[in-house]
């Protein structure tokens, strides 16, 4: 019997090989990108077999690079520090198009309908919006305040209703750009939201936009379901104040962990993760951690939250058990842990360890290290399921 099976198997193998020579026949839902920040390259990786599938070079200065995905999860939009916006085809493993859209960029977002990608810029400031297909410029929103002074733009996210939301660092404002307006673009501005918003996030349901303030206590909150109510200040004990330590790396708010009715956020300049009640936006607890948190990210089931740290504690990752608010594991992946990304349903997490030139994969149930993958100064890790998540 066994002999008869060989022929169909061989035919299947040959036909697979034939396809591979033209365009690989595969889905993209288990793919991702690892940023190799010093060499201006990215790795395309697969999470099913935990493998490197290819490397793409020529993406410029990728310090602080971020990635958004097209809704078909085939194309990655890579936003580089040098203002470069690069569209990468994950299947053909090549750069489709690259534009230098500004002098100095900080992040990007893709619209709800997938038609627009937006880049937020430090120099000359402002947000530029591009056609996601062609990368042609669609809209340019300079970030000049009332006095005409330009601000660095931070905390850019998409929101339902084909909107983009972002914050102006120097001016202390939050702006909402509506791409579904009859005129093609309408910008609503909220002034005096607080001093030095340094980053922001939007909850996964797209309802609450929260900006962290560096210049004073508290967070600025905009309810996207009730914009008429304006921006409110919440958690006025959070952030600076008390015995704040020097901040050696600004926390990133993108990964803020919303766990049902609580939000776990990094405390600026403190060795703590704060727990905020989302019903009244008051602090309901503090969790002492190993250092100043940078990323505080929830596993997709929200039961665990993983935290990495600023210098000099950046060799460590801690895992918080959400129900008990206790640390249940401390890992030492190596020097300069920069980012953590969960597989789509969270059974594993990929961790970039910059100074060890590798990415490590851990089982989130047993905390066992499953694999090490070499990478040159890896920073951000971005998996394609982000394509279908508001704010990512």
């Amino acid at each position: 019997m066994r002999r008869y099976l060989i022929l169909p198997l061989l035919i299947a193998l040959f036909s697979l090989a034939g396809c591979a020579a033209t365009l690989p026949q595969r889905g993209t839902g288990d793919l991702g990108v690892v940023i190799e920040r010093a060499t201006g390259s990215i790795q395309v990786v697969g999470t099913t077999n935990r493998t490197r599938l290819g490397q793409i070079t020529g993406l410029g200065d990728l310090s602080h690079a971020s990635v958004n995905y097209s809704r078909d999860e085939r194309y990655a939009y890579v936003f580089g520090r040098d203002g470069g916006l690069t569209k990468v085809d994950l299947l053909e493993m090549r750069i489709v198009k690259r534009v230098i859209q500004s002098g100095n960029s900080i992040g990007g977002a893709i619209s709800q309908d997938g038609r627009f990608v937006a880049a937020s810029n430090y120099t000359p400031g402002g947000v530029r919006i591009f056609n996601a297909e062609t990368l042609d410029l669609v809209a340019d929103i300079p970030s000049a305040d009332r006095a005409g002074k330009s601000s660095k733009v931070v905390g850019l996210v998409d929101a339902p209703g084909n909107r983009f939301v972002f914050s102006l660092f120097e001016a202390g404002e939050i702006w909402v750009a509506d791409m579904s307006a009859p005129s093609g673009l309408a910008v609503t501005k909220f002034e005096h939201i607080g001093k030095d918003p340094y980053d922001a996030m939007i909850t996964a349901d797209g309802r609450y936009y929260l900006a962290g303030l560096f210049g004073e206590d508290g967070l600025a909150l905009l309810d996207m379901w009730n914009m008429e109510a304006g921006v409110k200040r919440v958690l006025n004990g959070y952030g600076k104040g008390e015995q704040q330590l020097p901040v050696y790396k600004m926390p990133h708010l993108e990964g803020w962990a919303a766990t049902g009715n609580e939000l776990l956020v990094p405390a600026v300049g403190r060795h703590e993760v704060l727990v905020i009640g989302m019903n009244n936006w008051k602090e309901v607890g503090r969790i002492p951690v190993h250092g100043q948190p940078v990323f505080v990210v929830a596993r997709p089931d929200n039961r665990q939250v993983w935290v990495n740290f600023a210098l000099p504690h950046n060799d460590t990752v801690q895992v918080i058990d959400v129900p008990s608010r206790t640390i249940i594991k401390t890992l030492k992946p190596g020097k300069a842990v920069l980012h953590m990304e969960f597989t789509p349903r969270g059974e594993q997490v990929w961790i970039s360890v910059r100074d060890e030139d590798r990415v490590e994969v851990y089982d989130t149930g047993t905390f066992a290290k499953i694999k090490e993958l070499p990478a040159s100064k890896p920073s951000g890790i971005f998996f394609t399921p982000r394509a279908h998540r508001t704010g990512l």
């Binding site: 200065d61 310090s63 040098d82 340094y198 901040v247 600004m250 210098l311 000099p312």
Partner: protein, 85 residues
């Protein structure tokens, strides 16, 4: 006194990677100001050194004196003003 050769290598890596988080890997600026030779031209070395060691209040620049000696910070300023290799 100059840092040892090994320490110099460490310091250059530190400037690129860790200062680079805010100032850009190419030191052309980001949340922090540009630190290229052109950007620092004519600025007094001593005050640049003090900015590294003690930070700048009211800005996001932290004091780096827990990690660097005065001589090391001074050497970093020299390297930045020459243009980092």
């Amino acid at each position: 006194m100059l840092p040892s050769a090994a320490r110099q290598t460490e310091l250059l890596y530190f400037v690129r990677q860790d200062c680079g988080s805010c100032h850009g890997l190419r030191l052309e600026g980001g949340l922090g100001v540009p630190l290229t030779a052109a950007a620092l031209k004519g600025k007094p070395a001593e005050s640049l050194r003090d900015t590294i060691l003690y930070g700048r209040s009211g800005t996001t620049m932290p004091p780096w004196n827990p990690f660097l000696t005065e001589a090391e910070a001074g050497w970093i300023v020299q390297m930045l003003q020459k243009g980092l290799p």
